[in-house]
């Protein structure tokens, strides 16, 4: 295997406060190949956004990336770079788009200015050249009459349009990696599909690797080739997308899949995982999912499971995956009908 584009090793991002230490990301490792799309899924509060922000070192105090973490990218550990070096990576080699297109743009600058700024800070482009580039980018992401639209302010655009602007902004420097943190969550369904389509098109055209963060397994099924499932600040399962859907190795993944709405499915039978994600200041001992797991047995409390390989590229953090996997049918309390 050739070197991956990005390799995250033992990433730990903690928030330190008088109330305790929130271990939002706790020993996360994964990698992304060149031009690959990797999906990161998990419920709210699992540490997906904190992971994404950590990659670009955008975590603000009281958050801190702890010693022992490594983020290898293009031959360097991003965590060892000085302020100027990491600035040159941001928006240039690794770009990011955020969940909230409503608030992610600066209200007092035109969208053209905000896109042009990327070319100005990284390419030293002249004002005029950068503006032309911004107009080109708007056309690329499918905004009609881009030249006029470039002089719009964010509040003059719809949510879907703003998300396109954010994507345009991210693509200016043709980054090797695009981190998309729930890029469609705030949008309505038809717009969601358009944005996902746009991302797929971008990836084909430019060979951009994409880290797609979402809590929607359906989105992952459509776009990603590999999936990382996060729970409680950890990776609980990792697999190629087909393997994951065919043979989920972690009860949490199964729960997420059962909670997925599917076409033709009776709404009555849609299930959710019982309970909720515990606060990151107080992860349970042993397996962090055991409180909510229908398969939990005493060992789950006594001993934290490691991420164990199941097959090629497939691993799960579950004691059931370690032993020869017993052929269990889901017990009655594993999933609750809603």
């Amino acid at each position: 295997m050739t070197d991956p584009l990005l390799r995250v090793e033992h990433l730990r991002t903690y928030f330190h406060s008088p109330a305790g230490i929130a271990r939002a990301v706790d020993d996360v490792s994964f990698s992304i190949g060149r031009g690959e799309t990797v999906g990161v899924v998990g419920e709210s509060g699992c540490g997906k956004s904190v992971t994404a922000l950590s990659l670009l070192r955008l975590i603000q105090a009281p958050g801190r990336i702890e010693a022992g973490s490594h983020i290898w990218f293009e031959g360097r550990d991003l965590l060892t770079l000085g302020a100027e070096d990491i600035r040159q990576v941001r928006g240039n080699r690794i770009a990011m788009i955020f969940q909230e297109p409503m608030t992610a743009l600066n209200p007092v600058f035109t969208v053209g200015d905000q896109i042009a700024e990327v070319a100005r800070v990284h390419d030293g482009a002249s004002r005029k050249a950068a503006w032309e580039r911004a107009v080109e980018m708007l056309a690329l992401v499918g905004i009609p009459s881009p030249r006029e639209r470039a002089s719009n302010y964010p509040h003059q655009m719809s949510g879907g349009m703003r998300q396109r602007v954010l994507i345009a902004m991210a693509l200016v420097m043709n980054p090797a990696l695009l981190i998309a943190d729930e890029p469609t969550t705030a949008l309505d369904v038809t717009i969601q599909a358009q944005i996902l389509e746009l991302l797929a098109k971008v990836q084909q055209a430019f060979g951009t690797a994409i880290l797609l963060i979402t809590h929607d397994l359906g989105v992952v099924a459509e776009t990603a080739s590999r999936v990382v499932v996060m729970y409680g600040g950890q990776v609980v399962e990792e697999a190629p997308v087909r393997t994951l859907f065919a043979d989920p190795g972690h009860p949490y993944t199964k729960g997420l899949m059962q909670a997925m709405p599917r076409v033709g499915m009776d709404r009555e039978r849609l299930t959710t995982i019982p309970g909720s994600v515990p606060p990151p200041t107080a992860w349970p001992t042993g397996c962090r999912f055991r409180d909510r797991c229908g398969f939990a047995w005493p060992r789950c409390e006594a001993e934290a499971p490691a991420l164990v390989p199941i097959s090629a590229g497939h691993a799960a953090r579950c004691h059931l995956a370690e032993v020869d996997r017993p052929p269990v049918a889901a017990p009655a309390n594993a999933a609750r009908s809603t």
């Binding site: 922000l53 670009l56 955008l58 603000q60 302020a83 600035r87 040159q88 990576v89 941001r90 928006g91 240039n92 770009a95 990011m96 955020f98 909230e100 608030t103 992610a104 743009l105 600066n106 209200p107 007092v108 600058f109 035109t110 700024e117 990327v118 800070v121 990284h122 302010y153 509040h155 954010l166 902004m169 991210a170």
Partner: protein, 323 residues
């Protein structure tokens, strides 16, 4: 935008009419009377006094005087000073530019300094420099302006003799200076009174600006700016500060009444020959037309200032612009 301006101007006129009426009633209700100096003069016979009163219409019932005055005002006539025998318009035309010079120096100096200090404080919130600056701004904002004026006067003019004690120009030398020398002369006289007012403003603005910037820094768009590779300085100064200036511009509109009031004391203490001093002198001489004139012009300044503040806000915040 045009309709908005028109509405604001109409409001302004209504405010000025109210101010004129209230001031008119108040000065006539206050004890004392005009021509005090002349009336004490023994050579002035009661008949002459009555004649003087009659000439200026002061023997008429108050209601008649009021209607007459408002009639003149409607025609843009501010009447003639009782004490100086000059049109009030002439007196104001002399005093207003001097006051505007002092006020704009104080306003721009104060805002520039305040925004700078506030922004630097917010960028290093919690540091010892932030805490020291915080103490100083609280103290300055709480000080009465005349106290600060007197302290600066005593220290820098009387004791150190760095700056002149009073006036706007050197009374003996000014006429003989070159144009540049005259400018320097005025600036030298301007320094202390402008600094007094600017410091108090800067303190208020700095406290406001610090908080406004701290409120903006956690916003999503600030994170977006960092994520696209803007330097930390660009993030704070270009992206965050530009948004954090919006509340400060509102402060600008609200600051004008305080500035007009403050310039009254400061002009008096530094003998700056502006509107404030004209007003104080007119008040003690019961020079009704001048009191009314200075009050009206001060109010007009406040009205115009708040319209300017609204226009500035619209210029700074595209969301406020329409059509």
């Amino acid at each position: 935008m045009i309709a908005f301006l028109f509405r604001r101007l109409l409001q302004g006129v209504a405010i000025l009419v109210t101010v004129a009426t209230v001031t008119f009633v108040l000065i006539h209700a206050a004890p004392g009377e005009p021509f005090a100096g002349q009336l004490d003069d023994v050579r002035f016979t009661p008949a002459q006094q009555a004649e003087l009163r009659r000439q200026r219409g002061l023997d008429q019932p108050l209601a008649t005087q009021y209607v007459r005055y408002m009639g003149r005002l409607a025609r843009g006539d501010l009447d003639v000073s009782l004490a100086q025998q000059r049109p009030v318009r002439t007196i104001l035309a002399e005093a207003l530019p001097r006051t505007l010079l002092l006020m704009s120096a104080a306003l721009f100096g104060g805002f520039a300094l305040g925004i700078l200090v506030g922004a630097l404080q917010a960028a290093r919130a919690g540091s010892w420099a932030d805490r020291v600056a915080g103490r100083i701004t609280v103290a300055l904002a709480a000080l009465p302006d005349f106290w600060l004026a007197l302290t600066l006067l005593l220290l820098f003019s009387v004791r150190l003799r760095w700056f002149p004690v009073s006036g706007m120009v050197d009374p003996t030398m000014h006429e003989y200076l070159s144009p540049l020398g005259r400018l320097r002369d005025v600036a030298w006289h301007l320094a202390l009174p402008a600094t007094t007012m600017a410091l108090i403003f800067a303190a208020v603005v700095a406290r406001y600006q610090r908080q406004a910037l701290l409120d903006v820094l956690p916003d999503d768009f600030v994170r977006s700016a960092r994520a696209k590779g803007v330097s930390e300085r660009g993030v704070v100064l270009r992206h965050a500060l530009r948004n954090a200036l919006l509340p400060t511009i509102t402060l600008f509109g609200m600051a004008l009444p305080a500035l007009v009031g403050g310039s009254l004391f400061v002009e008096f203490i530094f003998a700056w020959p502006g509107m404030g001093r004209a007003a104080v002198e007119a008040l003690s001489a019961r020079d009704y037309p001048v009191v009314l004139g200075t009050t009206l012009v001060s109010s007009a300044l406040v009205v115009v200032g708040s319209i300017v503040a609204d226009l500035l806000a619209a210029a700074a915040d595209p969301r406020l612009r329409r059509g």
